[in-house]
Subunit: 341 residues, 2 copies
Amino acid sequence: MQINLAIDAMGGDSGPRTNVAGTLLALTQDPLLNVTLVGDKPLLESLLLQHQLSHEFASRISLLASDDVIGMDESPVSVLRSRKRSSMHLAVQLVAQRQCHACVSGGNTGALMLVGRHYLGMLPGIERPAISTAIPTQQGHSYLLDLGANVDCQAEHLLQFALMGSVMVSCVEGKAKPRVALLNVGHEAIKGNTLVKLAAHLIENHPSLNFVGYVEGDEIFRGDVDLVVCDGFVGNIALKTSEGLARFLSGKIQSLFEKSLYSRLVGLMARPLLRQLKQQMDPVRYNGGSFLGLKGCVVKSHGNADAVGFSFAIMRAAVEARQGLSARLLEQMQKLDLPQD
Amino acid sequence: MQINLAIDAMGGDSGPRTNVAGTLLALTQDPLLNVTLVGDKPLLESLLLQHQLSHEFASRISLLASDDVIGMDESPVSVLRSRKRSSMHLAVQLVAQRQCHACVSGGNTGALMLVGRHYLGMLPGIERPAISTAIPTQQGHSYLLDLGANVDCQAEHLLQFALMGSVMVSCVEGKAKPRVALLNVGHEAIKGNTLVKLAAHLIENHPSLNFVGYVEGDEIFRGDVDLVVCDGFVGNIALKTSEGLARFLSGKIQSLFEKSLYSRLVGLMARPLLRQLKQQMDPVRYNGGSFLGLKGCVVKSHGNADAVGFSFAIMRAAVEARQGLSARLLEQMQKLDLPQD
């Protein structure tokens, strides 16, 4: 199925050059993909020229001029109404106007959430979008949400995350009854804080969810469940702590292999193996946080993703668009008829 | 300085054999250490006999008979009053009666906390003990607390953790002004949940604390701060997620080095290097959670620690006892005159 994605070419820490390179990578990977690059048109044109694209390949890329870029540290609220000509605004609008199936941005997360909410609207019964991402496990990958969009949650929010996440996993992974777990400090019913205990009660008793109980932090990477639900504060800490530890360990391994002549030799021999490990584990493979809760598909690329990472976020958006995730979420949430706050 | 520690020889998943072996290891490492092993006396005697200790070495070990063992999954509240002849109760009592400087147990964490609180009492102004542990960083190690004792916290609790943790780091590590940070989802003042924002205000304005601001999850392992404060739910998730990821990665590395003849050869050559890495990173080195808030020193060993891990928990208790941590905490908390709930 042909897909057209809106790409915020200006967002992210490394800017248009990386975003354009990542987009071209994704276009190479997926021959049925078309994109609209939104940004500084002359700049994008000159960047594309450098890649010497064939006429056919270039025909899959449209450009849309924007006049403004939202900075990574700007206050989301202040940019929402004042910066309507930004690349982020225009990219999201392309989705709202149904000119594109989904949009991808590496820009300011909070701004992207507000802009998405403003132009696309929220699913019925959902108050705020939640961010979800795939994480590697012993058995492939699982999903974790929320990752930081909602730092003060009520139990009802965790139920909403479970419902949306479950629809997403079922839609994108083709799993009939995704196993949903709550992240907690123990397995027993008496364990946990008030929020988790209340949420467990709601999730357990919801007829459309396959709740398998609590998982502890060390079980996230086991892959025994399909979806791990937690509030955004906890999810952000869990994800970033993992990123920090992975970086710390990989630095340790690197310096170990540089210590002596012997270790350098071993390091040289081990290089292909370590490269395999890196490929399997590489966070770029899991780049792409989906905003669940919007009436439309918006994928956030990590701010400091490189071109490969950005291409993975684009491919994530392509999968969600092809599987009709937005429509499926809307349909399911309408059926559930959640109470509106 | 001669130290006498009470050891709950029956606690933990792997039981008396491991605990005795770990105790003997610690006694070998620290010639000024004496212990009282609390547990099933005939069993302990037979275990000690197997080690063929010299008379001199054996003279550093006393035995105290207990009639009961608290199971790892028993309800803490129910065992507090009904199981007064358990090894855990008697070991903690030895500290309360000042016959031992500190006690170590690998048993049921909740029970150990209640038993400790019952016999030792709480420091003035502190409601519930917090658990703190050292974690490896790029620059050595830092401390994290709370790790799960307090899953529903108010901002005042986080302030108490910061105060106790700061005294602990200053006492045990000899740092004059430990750098205290709050774990959060961002660095800016507007970031975070309500709890963290309120706590930041309290900690920042406390004259005896050196607050350096927020750290994110990925910065825990950088070591730029001495103490990372968070509520027990978040701390538990961060620590266990790290443990899970480390286990996941080490499994990946192992299977990578077993894949082919070439990788086996490289694995063989890399073995001494990987052993070094394991030694540097090994969680057993960081085994030993200190209960801060009790009027007395109680160290919790990880339930599934092996003998080496258990010996590290004992050495942790020995350091805290030698540095007079309990007295220092009492003195500082009295000075601060925190409001009693």
